[in-house]
Amino acid sequence: MSDQETTPATGGVVNPRENKTASWLSHVLADLGKNGIFIALVLVVVLFTFLTDGILLRPQNISNLIVQNGYILVLAIGMVMVIVAGHIDLSVGSVAAFVGACSGVFAVQWGLPWWLAIIMSLGIGALVGVWQGFWIAYVGIPAFIVTLAGMLIFRGLALVVLGNSNIGSFPAEYRALGNGFLTDVFGEFDLDPLTLGVGVIAVIALIVQQVRTRLGRAKYGQEVEPLVWFVAKLVLITAALGFFAYALASYKGIPVTLIVLAVLVLIYGVVMNRTVFGRHIYAIGGNRHAAELSGIKNRKVDFYLFVNMGILAALAGLIFTARLNLAGPKAGDGFELEAISAAFIGGAAVQGGIGTVGGAIIGGLIIGVLNNGMSILGIGIEWQQAVKGLVLLLAVAFDVYNKRRSGGR
């Protein structure tokens, strides 16, 4: 694209003669276009609900969906940050296995308290991140190579730690990380009151936050979406959240994994959007040279990104190990690919600079629903792989097509 010519103006060009309905409609359509990935998730859910005669949306299955995919979603958060900065991390599956094995040694073989074992394991994840971040940020070796090496190194170390055997029988508190539920705090009911209460609080918090953002934007004279559409969206989201809370309440309550995830999504959402660190990640991914010449410390940001990824990979390893109640040599196999797929399906750009935590989570959920739905249908693992590969390809192709159409580069 040449900067010599006026390129088609984006947004903001509103034909004054258009009536109100048309502009309202165009806003809704633009919004839907922006949230294409969300629509895709809804479509996949609807499709599999239909194909599985509703089994997909049964309370037990919804609960399983979260617990089964928790560790991938945790990885996807770190991965999308790494990808936005223009890197990639192929080592997360091996790191998860390595940390899982270490946690087995701490919690089972050494018999340390569960909390100490978890803290030490996360510390090991951070050290792994320091190691990889050092080579990437300060030596300048491409992340692809460093983490490819890391994939081999930490898979090997996991085997060394395990010494050719599995470690099992973790303490109950540790296991809760993977398959525990927060429930029956107020006694036994058909519908868990705690879960419903948390659901209500979440909905209220969401509405308050959305309204505050809207008011804030309006106060500074920024364009806000039409009120009807704003309310409609809130109603839809409230309904979805309500259904979700109802499903969890009628099964076992809130999975501990979900709590961990929710906290992470909140924290990292804020980090990426509202902190200087997050902004610097986008700036570096968008144009590394320009970021450097604007006083951004690229190396430092790169380094901490990988430290962060190491910690999140460790957490994913803990959740996975806790869920299986077993630290084994095969743990974490292929996690990196699912996490990378989640980020890309969620709209991250291959060249960096673009991507959101929310998008990656939805991307991960799409993969999760595909896995889960196809399993219910009795489709074999071989076809599941092929379908997931195809979905990744189509998602990125769609993204590329969209960008080309809107005149982007």
């Binding site: 984006t10 700036a283 010449l293």
Partner: protein, 509 residues
């Protein structure tokens, strides 16, 4: 057979929301050099993209008549098959391939079994290089020759395609004066061999030098075509901007105060070849409210000096001292330089200045994000407000500040870069080629901004290869040659002749 090789009749091209060309008619005579000029965004490049098939037949209305027949190009290869070759401003050469490989890229010389015949390739390439007057071995890699020579390789490549109509989009934008002269001579030489050329250019003096007629485009319309003898700079500028341009430079009454910045013995070496001195014991100073020019040819070490000073972002083995208000400061990292009140707006906006996939708002806040932090978090709304203030005060032409900077024209991109640095609240701004690749009207706006900065008591260093520009806006000019300061002239005693003499001064060896 008419005398025109090309007639574009009533070409109209619309993008969603924007009419880029409206009923443009362009006649190019056989064997002439036809110049097209106009401001950025006027529609020059769009017109050439229509002609060369980048925008295929059907996406525009109107007819293209080439050699007396109506042509409908569906792609670039269609137009090349007819002998129309376009050379873009950003050269399309592969740096790791040889000159010969680049010339015959996608047009490989094949021998037996369809395999590439390297002897044929290299000998044919050598013949083409001789035609364009380039003395290089065809097996030399593109990355090992300069931009000027790369431009010649592009022309050789066009010749290999049996070009009849050669389109050059701002061919001399990245060239120094020698290379530009050589290129322009070559265009005239090719004209002697019957090759018609269309040259898009901002540089009025070179248009006058080579072209037989000039068509001026403004706001997507062809304003007029002027024959060679009637071409005057004033007439072209008037056509381009649609008004008489009495002053190309805004009035500037200097109000110069105390010294802000002093650089002593600044020396830097090449980043890879650490024995090659690029900046040679430079001494200079800037006072409050003063606009100081650095005049130097390409390769004189202008950008190298500025970037090595600005947080050592260029070079190796850097030494020298920097004083602000008489106190020595450290500028070892970009962050330190910014914290000490320096700002450097790059000559290469797209590579070093902007995050093109991000919006105006976030680009403006990039160098001073900390100013927007409240309780540890970046205040989006305040950022929006700040960006809007700059959009208004700098006259950035965009519907809102959420537009991606990659979609702006060069002049508006430059205003975003300047906004970014002004928002970082510097005491001294180093502006490296602040008006490169932007049109006459926007240039005037940039000069006005520079004046305002000086009037606000800041020190401004302007690096430029356009002497009229430096003479028009500066209070004092340093000349730089081979990395060393060769002269210092108050504006009253600076003339183009003395400046050029000092810019081309060679070191005593």
């Amino acid at each position: 057979m008419t005398t025109n090789i090309l007639e574009m009749r009533g070409i109209t091209k619309t993008f969603p929301g924007v009419k880029a060309l409206s009923a443009v008619t362009l006649d190019v005579g056989r064997g002439e050099v036809h110049a097209i000029c106009g401001e950025n965004g006027a529609g020059k490049s769009t017109l050439m993209k229509v002609l060369s098939g980048v925008y295929p037949h059907g996406t525009y209305t109107g007819d293209i008549v080439f050699e007396d027949e109506i042509v409908e190009f569906k792609s670039i290869s269609d137009s090349e098959a007819k002998g129309i070759v376009i050379i873009h401003q950003e050269l399309a050469l592969s740096p790791y391939l040889s000159i010969a490989e680049n010339i015959f890229l996608n047009n490989e010389q094949r021998g037996a079994l369809g395999l590439i015949d390297w002897n044929e390739t290299n000998s044919e390439a050598a013949k083409l290089l001789a035609r364009v007057g380039l003395k290089e071995n065809p097996t030399t890699r593109i990355m090992d020759i300069g931009v000027g020579k790369q431009q010649l390789v592009e022309i050789a490549k066009a010749l290999s395609k049996r070009v009849k109509l050669l389109i050059l989009d701002e061919p001399t934008a990245a060239l120094n004066d020698d290379d530009s002269d050589h290129l322009l001579d070559l265009i005239l030489h090719l004209k002697g061999q019957g090759i018609t050329s269309i040259i898009i250019s901002h540089k009025l003096n070179e248009i006058k030098k080579v072209s037989d007629s000039v068509t001026v485009i403004r706001d997507g319309r062809a304003i007029e075509t002027i024959a060679k003898d009637d071409v005057t700079e004033e007439r072209i500028i008037k056509d381009m901007v649609g008004r008489d341009l009495e002053h190309r430079y805004p009035d500037h009454t200097p109000d110069i105060g105390a010294e802000i910045l002093r650089v002593e013995d600044w020396t830097a070496f090449h980043p890879q070849d650490t024995t090659r001195m690029m900046v040679d014991h430079v001494n200079l100073n800037v006072r409050a409210g003063e606009i100081v020019g650095i005049a130097g040819l390409m390769g004189a070490g202008r950008t190298e000096f500025a970037m090595s000073l600005f947080g050592r972002s260029y070079g190796s083995r850097i030494s020298g001292k920097v004083f602000k208000h008489g106190v020595e400061i450290r500028t070892r990292t970009v962050t330190e330089a910014i914290d000490n009140g320096l700002a450097y707006a790059t000559e290469d906006r797209k590579t070093f200045g902007l995050n093109l996939i991000e919006d105006i708002k976030r680009n403006i806040s990039m160098a001073a994000l900390h100013r927007l932090v409240r309780n540890g978090l970046v205040n989006d709304n305040e950022e929006y407000q700040v960006a809007n203030e700059y959009r208004a005060s700098m006259n950035i032409k965009a519907p809102n500040v959420l537009v991606k900077t990659g979609k702006l024209s060069g002049g508006n991109q430059q205003k975003v870069v300047l906004s970014k640095w002004i928002y970082s609240n510097p005491d001294v701004l180093i502006l490296d080629e602040p008006t490169r690749g932007i049109d006459v009207g926007a240039k005037y706006e940039i000069y006005t901004i520079i004046n305002k900065l000086a009037a606000a008591g800041k020190g401004v260093i302007v690096i430029s290869s356009e002497l009229p520009e430096l003479l028009g806006i500066c209070d004092r000019i340093y000349t730089l040659a081979e990395g060393a300061i060769t002269g210092e002239f108050p504006i009253e005693s600076a003339t183009p002749e003395t400046l050029i003499k000092h810019m081309t001064m060679e070191k005593a060896r």
